[in-house]
């Protein structure tokens, strides 16, 4: 299954709805290009909705980390929304659960950006 990404803006936050697999190859590239485009357009508040992401491998995890650091280095913030149990477990095993700001619902996530 290929990965899809679509973006929408809510209260100044760019929400990227991701679906499918974030793995080495196409999935990782889609995520990288999407975040890069948003950063280039000047967006500083990016929320990745992973609710429909069915699978992430180590390359996908690396891509999430890369997105996080590139947005942060550009003076922005990147948060994660709606982790599935599998993705949650992976981030916990890799100790990245404490690195990312992880949100469970969209309204709270948007509020967290605008605090």
């Amino acid at each position: 299954m290929t990965m899809k990404a679509s973006s929408r803006q809510v209260d100044g936050v760019m929400i990227v709805d991701l679906s499918g697999r974030i793995t080495l190859g196409e999935g990782s590239v889609v995520l990288r290009d999407t975040v890069k485009d948003l950063s280039t357009q000047g967006h500083k508040k990016i929320l990745l909705n992973l609710g429909n992401v069915t699978y992430i491998d180590s390359s996908g995890i690396g891509e999430l980390v890369s997105a996080y650091t590139s947005v942060r280095n550009a003076g922005g913030e990147l948060k994660l929304l709606n982790l599935t149990k599998k993705v949650h477990d992976l981030l916990q095993i890799t100790k990245l659960y404490t690195v990312f700001d992880i949100q469970d619902d969209e309204a709270s996530a948007i509020s967290a950006f605008n605090r």
Binding site: L24, D57, E63, T94, K95, V99
Partner: protein, 149 residues
């Protein structure tokens, strides 16, 4: 003891990584692992295949990746072999170390160790073989695994 052995010789491509993952899912299911365990085993095999294709064979069309599944009533054993320059697992940095936490790569072998019960590396000439074992759950083994955590 009954043992079933299936072997795949694959090209050094991303399609082969997906093939190895799919074959692992099927082999794990046949071994009787539940859905979550099948997913973890498949991810471990996928990571090993990625290492073989990407870091071992470096997508070289003249080099092959071999993935071998051996199923016994006690365990599923998977060996992934490449024809690359070789790998010293001792030199792989700890991805949980604070200085490595935000690195983009370097988590593959860590995940394999996390998801499989035993792993070992063997140097070939040329190449590397990683062997991963997942034991079919039994009362004694569950106890041992918990004791080791």
């Amino acid at each position: 003891m009954n043992a079933t052995r299936v072997s795949y010789t694959l090209e050094s491509t991303l399609a082969s990584v997906n093939k190895a993952e799919q074959a692992a899912t099927e082999a794990a299911a046949k071994s009787g692992f539940d859905e979550d365990e099948c997913g973890r085993i498949a991810m471990a095999v996928r990571e090993a295949a990625v290492n073989a294709v990407l870091h071992g064979n470096r997508y070289d069309p003249n080099k092959r990746v071999t993935v071998c599944f051996q199923t016994t009533p006690d365990a599923l054993t998977v060996a992934v072999r490449d024809e690359g320059q070789g790998l010293d697992p001792a030199t792989v940095p700890d991805p949980l170390a604070p200085e490595n936490l935000l690195k983009q790569s370097g988590r593959g072998i860590f995940l394999i160790r996390a998801f499989m019960d035993e792993i070992s590396f063997r140097s070939l000439s040329p190449g590397t073989e990683i062997t991963m074992i997942k034991f079919v759950r039994g009362p004694g083994r569950d106890g041992n695994k918990e004791a080791n955590q």
